[in-house]
């Protein structure tokens, strides 16, 4: 079988699986085979979406969670990259701070979340804070490890050529860490969303997490499913976007695969 035929088959298979789930749920609910309390059908979920739209809460709920996630991902990644790259350059400072960072990283985010709500209030900032907190570690740890494990011959070769510490930093340390930045972004993008939703679960007035929690409390199963699906779709888009950044971050690994 040639490659394009294989790809076509895979996509047809995926479409079939999706169709079976959707049609199964629709028919199951319609003919009473599935309980309306535990499951929901595509039409009911679309109804929930329409209701959200008519109430004017669709964009605020989706938009807020998206905003929290993206800001958390960007700020947390930048902080993780900066600290991960610079800390190994300062040996004493790095040895002083490392245990503190490791302890902070060990605390489950769910128990840190109330602290952020206390500090930053019920709104957006506290959710971004929680998101930044977990994304930071997802980025910091791989970048820090990579910066500590430099390939010494590369550094030596540059030193012999007369490179300054700054030139070695930009020409060896930073590019050496780029594969780890890519890894950090992949892990961090998932965690950013988790951070935002956890924040909304702990205390909030809006967002998809808030909507899901409210729907769960009121036994509004279609809205609950709508919230979960909306989160899944957003997570998938985010993951594709991060994957697409590979050729920018580690261009040399993608160079000869055209």
């Amino acid at each position: 079988m040639n490659i394009s035929a294989h790809t076509a088959l895979v996509f047809a298979g995926r479409a079939l699986v999706l169709a079976v789930i959707l049609v199964g749920a629709e028919l199951g609910i319609r003919y009473g085979l599935l309980s309306r309390l535990f499951f929901s059908s595509p039409t009911e979920i679309l109804g929930a979406l329409t209701t959200q739209y008519e109430q004017g809460t669709l964009f605020s709920n989706v938009g807020i969670t998206v905003m929290e996630t993206l800001l958390g991902l960007i700020a947390g990644s930048l902080a993780g990259i900066a600290v991960g790259l610079v800390l190994p350059q300062m040996r004493t400072m790095s040895r002083v701070i490392e245990p503190l960072l490791m302890v902070l990283n060990g605390i489950p985010v769910i128990v840190i979340a109330p602290l952020f709500i206390l500090w930053l209030g019920l709104g957006l900032p506290s959710k971004i804070g929680i998101s930044v907190y977990i994304v930071f570690f997802a980025m910091f740890i791989p970048v820090y490890t990579a910066s500590l494990q430099l390939e010494q011959p590369l550094v030596d070769a540059l030193r012999v050529m007369g490179a300054s510490k700054t030139q070695i930093f930009w020409n060896v340390v930073v590019p050496s860490a780029m594969p780890s930045v890519y890894t950090g972004l992949k892990i961090g993008s998932g965690l950013a969303l988790i951070g935002a939703v956890i924040g909304e679960f702990v205390a909030s007035r809006a967002g998809l997490g808030h909507m899901i929690l409210y729907a769960s409390g009121t036994l509004d199963t279609p809205t609950l499913y709508f919230g979960i699906i909306a989160l899944a779709v957003f997570a998938a888009i985010l993951s594709f976007a991060v994957d697409a950044m590979g050729p920018l971050l580690v261009h040399w690994r993608f160079a000869d695969e055209k």
Binding site: D156, V160, V172, P175, H251, A255
Partner: protein, 259 residues
């Protein structure tokens, strides 16, 4: 001229100092190739790291044209055993790295790099990344990178050890030609006696740790060979090989006695 004058080097261990090199003296003039051979772990590479400025001798000094080498020097280039091309730079970007470090203008360094790349048989690979190159081509690119800075002295730390036999001879030959053509000084560290005789005008044999200069052999004939690959077929080769091997061999059997 590069001169090692009474050079000693000690690593500081947990409790005491471990002397690796003891009172080493020899020199390498312009248009001269010196090979340093010695048992594994005798400190050959450490010796070069004092000439390239990465380490300071514990005693004695390394002189370049009678001035002590106090750190990396633009007149001293080095080819390492490992592949030291930056994986995230294309061949041409790697070749111009040294010039970039010296803040030469972009147009200027690109010109020089492209000329060298064509000269060393890497034409067509300018935009490739190092991982797409064979071991021999990586070495050529690293050589072009070093030569782009126009060093008067070339230091080679077993740079051909990882290459296959045919590629190796071709590159050895190129390096000798380049060195002779530019009237450069070259110090080559190797564990391969045949390579040392084939390439060098002089072979310095080191003892095992703490290494001292055991004997220096002048090789008068390798310079006259048309190519490096012809030297082993020359009538004088075998006797020199035997004598150098014999000088090294004492160290080997010495280790046997100790065990």
């Amino acid at each position: 001229m590069l001169e090692f004058r009474n050079v000693s080097f000690s690593f500081s261990g947990r409790r005491d100092e471990v002397e690796v090199l003891h009172d080493i003296s020899f020199s390498c003039g312009a248009d001269e190739i010196v090979a340093v051979v010695g048992p594994s772990g005798c400190g050959k590479s450490t010796l070069l790291s004092m000439a390239n400025g990465l380490r300071r001798p514990s005693g004695g000094e390394v002189l370049l044209d009678d001035k002590p080498v106090a750190g990396p020097n633009r007149l001293i280039g080095m080819l390492f055993q490992q592949n030291t091309l930056l994986p995230w730079r294309s061949v041409v970007e790697n070749v111009e790295l040294g010039l970039e470090i010296r803040s030469e203008s972009k147009a200027n360094r690109r010109d020089k790099a492209l000329t060298l790349i064509r000269q060393y048989g890497l034409g067509g690979f300018e935009r490739k990344y190092p991982h797409a190159l064979s071991g021999g081509m990586q070495k050529r690119a690293a050589l072009a990178q070093t030569l782009a800075m126009e060093p008067g002295v070339l230091l080679l730390d077993e740079p051909f050890a990882a290459l296959d036999a045919q590629t190796r001879v071709v590159i050895e030959n190129d390096v000798v030609k380049i060195c002779r053509a530019g009237k450069r000084s070259m110090v080559l560290v190797t564990h391969d006696i045949a390579e040392a005789i084939s390439m060098a005008d002089r072979v310095v044999v080191l003892s095992r740790r703490p290494a001292t200069v055991k004997e220096v052999f002048e090789i008068p004939f390798s310079r006259h060979a048309k190519s490096v690959s012809e030297v082993p077929a020359m009538p004088e080769f075998a006797s020199y090989f035997k004598r150098i091997w014999g000088t090294l061999d004492i160290s080997v059997s010495g280790m046997g006695e100790a065990a």
